[in-house]
Symmetry: C2
Subunit: 558 residues, 2 copies
Amino acid sequence: MSDNKIGDVSMIPLGGVGQIGKNMMVLEVNDELLIIDAGVMFPENDLLGIDLVIPDFTYVKENKDRVKAIVLTHGHEDHIGAMPYLLKELDLDVPIYGTKLTLGLLEGKLKEHRIKDKKLKVVNPGNLVKVSSFEVEFIKVNHSIADTCALALHTPLGPIVYASDFKFDQTPIDGGVADFHKLAELGDSEPGVLALFSDSTNVEHEGYTLSEKIVGHTIDNIFRGARERIIVATFASNIHRVQQIADAAFKYKRKIALTGRSMINNVEIARRLGYLTIAEDMIVDIRDCDNIPDNKIVLLTTGSQGEPMAALTRMSRGDHYHIKIDEGDTVVISASAIPGNEKFIGQTINQLFERGANVIYEDVSGVHVSGHASQEELKLMINLTKPKYLVPTHGEYRHLYRHAKLAEEVGIESDNIYIASLGDRIKFTEDRIYKTESIKAGDVLVDGLGIGDVGNIVLRDRRLLSEDGVIIVVLTIDNNGNILSGPDIVTRGFVYIRESEELIAEANSRVEEALRKCEENKVTEWSSLKKTIRDSLNNYIYKKIKRRPMILPIIMEV
Amino acid sequence: MSDNKIGDVSMIPLGGVGQIGKNMMVLEVNDELLIIDAGVMFPENDLLGIDLVIPDFTYVKENKDRVKAIVLTHGHEDHIGAMPYLLKELDLDVPIYGTKLTLGLLEGKLKEHRIKDKKLKVVNPGNLVKVSSFEVEFIKVNHSIADTCALALHTPLGPIVYASDFKFDQTPIDGGVADFHKLAELGDSEPGVLALFSDSTNVEHEGYTLSEKIVGHTIDNIFRGARERIIVATFASNIHRVQQIADAAFKYKRKIALTGRSMINNVEIARRLGYLTIAEDMIVDIRDCDNIPDNKIVLLTTGSQGEPMAALTRMSRGDHYHIKIDEGDTVVISASAIPGNEKFIGQTINQLFERGANVIYEDVSGVHVSGHASQEELKLMINLTKPKYLVPTHGEYRHLYRHAKLAEEVGIESDNIYIASLGDRIKFTEDRIYKTESIKAGDVLVDGLGIGDVGNIVLRDRRLLSEDGVIIVVLTIDNNGNILSGPDIVTRGFVYIRESEELIAEANSRVEEALRKCEENKVTEWSSLKKTIRDSLNNYIYKKIKRRPMILPIIMEV
């Protein structure tokens, strides 16, 4: 089953390398497995109709009995979003470790999926967890969600530091800077850090990522200047951002109303667990907004990515169930575009402006900072932990590559840096880091309730259908092969029928003509008939209008 | 037909406002029309299968006899790309004015569309053209294509400055700075500039847009450092960029090979017309590259936007007919992403890195500058021309809005600024600028040879088909309504059939069951039968797998 022998230490990325999202890693020491995170990825445009992408769980499924625990670094979708699928597919009964907020968010997710009785074990940053022969330390770092931890995974060859997503914020909102001392201590220990797995998301950015506190100043300025209603859209999971908005609301004597399902849920969880301090009387129901003067209210909403069904997007289109954008409203989009969403966000901004709002967005102001480390922080992480080996993670190939180059500048030898692909078993020894085998890994597509049933053939058909539509040709024949009725042509997504009757009529006679020839030549085999129909239509249509719809001949026998 | 009376001056945007691309404007003075540019827009992702978007020509078609001339500001697709469609639809025989390169590029386009015998009239920057009662001056400005002009459209109320796309480059490659003096002279004239129509594309950028010459320095540095093959991708129409690459090639003793149809065409046209100075012996056929040492060759290629079929994209995928990317190659992507293309470009960069190339791209170096004016240049344009009225153009709503705000800062009164929508007749008088009527205008979709035949219904069907595919249910009945064969189910793009036989079988029996009930209740009307099939399948499928494929019942009568 596995190349791992007693005494061996290896890591297997099942997600998050060569791609952004869907983070999942397996640590294998001797014959035991530890799973680190299990996240989703949101589908690219070419994955037509796909809702989510999750990791291929084949390896952990085949080695289920050797899995000893799951550890989670933080509560973002790309780190915990695939947990329900993992738990359902494997019916795992191992302990799941994470900080309070991380597990709080996971709990909500499991409830939605009706998964019960899992062993959720809350840890605090700084804790050391022992399970079977694994020892895992949770190390506080900063990120765009509270309660994020890096991990020190202790192995017989020394600790592996799994940095996950992080930044170093010198003035964080919750007062908790990253645990520099623990990272430094690991770097100074004997035999020293075996390997560092570090965040490549922002490796193209020079310098340092700005502190979350900067956003607070911008928000304060906006609140001070606004005379009427304020509407702020941000990521629902960015609890510190929400806190800063709530603080400004308190300072400028505005009540807060929430809209958007994930915003309402996340604020509820974060308040309940103590990550968000908003007095009860600060929050009003959105349906009561009309009773409050415009200069006494802030709306906190989802939709910062222009998602078609989110609350802010609905407001911009004018179909939000309760809020109508008015002249004088100040709308703040406190987020940056996730690549691929630029067009949606742009559209939302345009429509808000058209409705008379004053829109404040990232391109023109400091209403957002990233949660990921820039180049100088990545270097600091390397210099603090002084790892023997480096594995860049959380990035497309170009990010991993540039992170490798950055590490070389800091002094890591290029032989000691490994750019991983999904499913690589990365083996560590005292002298080298290398790949020993390829484990089955990849992207599993989720569409509705179907997991993995949409593959390349289905996607290729969807793509064909999306481009020029479909032409269906139906024919009824008797069992001697004589045509009883048809050919009838039905099209969808091809041309506007009412204005193309001539084209369709001509297409029909082309098919009839072709079938007549078949008859003359005594061709009665169904596959030949279908091919004849397809070829004659294909040629005619392409010549006539330069489109290539999918052509589907159907023969019914009576 | 028209609200324009003798003595009236109005402008009608048929493209380029509330959108980026598809630029087209009509100037109407008394009863005469002048067309300014006729460009295309590349379709957004949600326009499935659409190749191009062109303006709705209804107004100019209905008033064809009043059209006196067409003037073109520069040779980019979004300014001349719709000309073949305009000329074909209207069969116009009016003079077409433009600079030499602009008309050279147009000529190639007309040849492709087999349009002959058009009156192309070459003008030089600085020329004044008189046609019918119109007087148009061509004013040199800088942009990312050579030979770009702003226009002064002289009207009885004073000149309208139509700035089109521009930047002010103080150190341009061809030595020709913008004609500041003409712009200043117009601003100082009596009664002064009536209105300025100005480029809003880069209004979100502070300061000045960098000079094209900056890119030359970066390219020089790259050439100096490269030890093996250099491959540069850029916009084929960016002649000055191509010149700078050619200059570096000459300096570092490398030959140039071209790949990509538009690169080969544009370089040919620009060299023939004298806009590009590359000695004959500098250029080699790409098929002869293998005979030249890697450090003696530069490839100039298309594909800077990651277009699926372009030469660089093919190289990145490993299926270019001649060029194989090797370890040691330096690839320069000398362009920025047009919004919506980020993902494609990212993919190309990843794959080039994976093949071992050193990729230099915008995010990490100065290999590209914009061709559009930033805020300070936009202000300078206003201060030079001192217009009474301002109409921001070439932008989505948010760009137009911000340009309006910028103009207010410079001192234009807000009542004198008009944010236009497509088809607004913008009327000018001595005291005010206002909209008098709405002209039919909008986006016409081109798909293959079909112009405007794909509308909302077809697009909605394509979207439905793209998301969850199609289920076709066929049924043969006799003329008494008895079922002779079927129901047969055929699906495409829905599920992978081999792994979903059970689902399809169950769906089939649901349909049979529903039809049996129809029979019992003596329901034989086709529309009722079809509705029954659709409803029963819809319910079953959604419950079972949470997808909503298009369901197409087809009944054949024998």
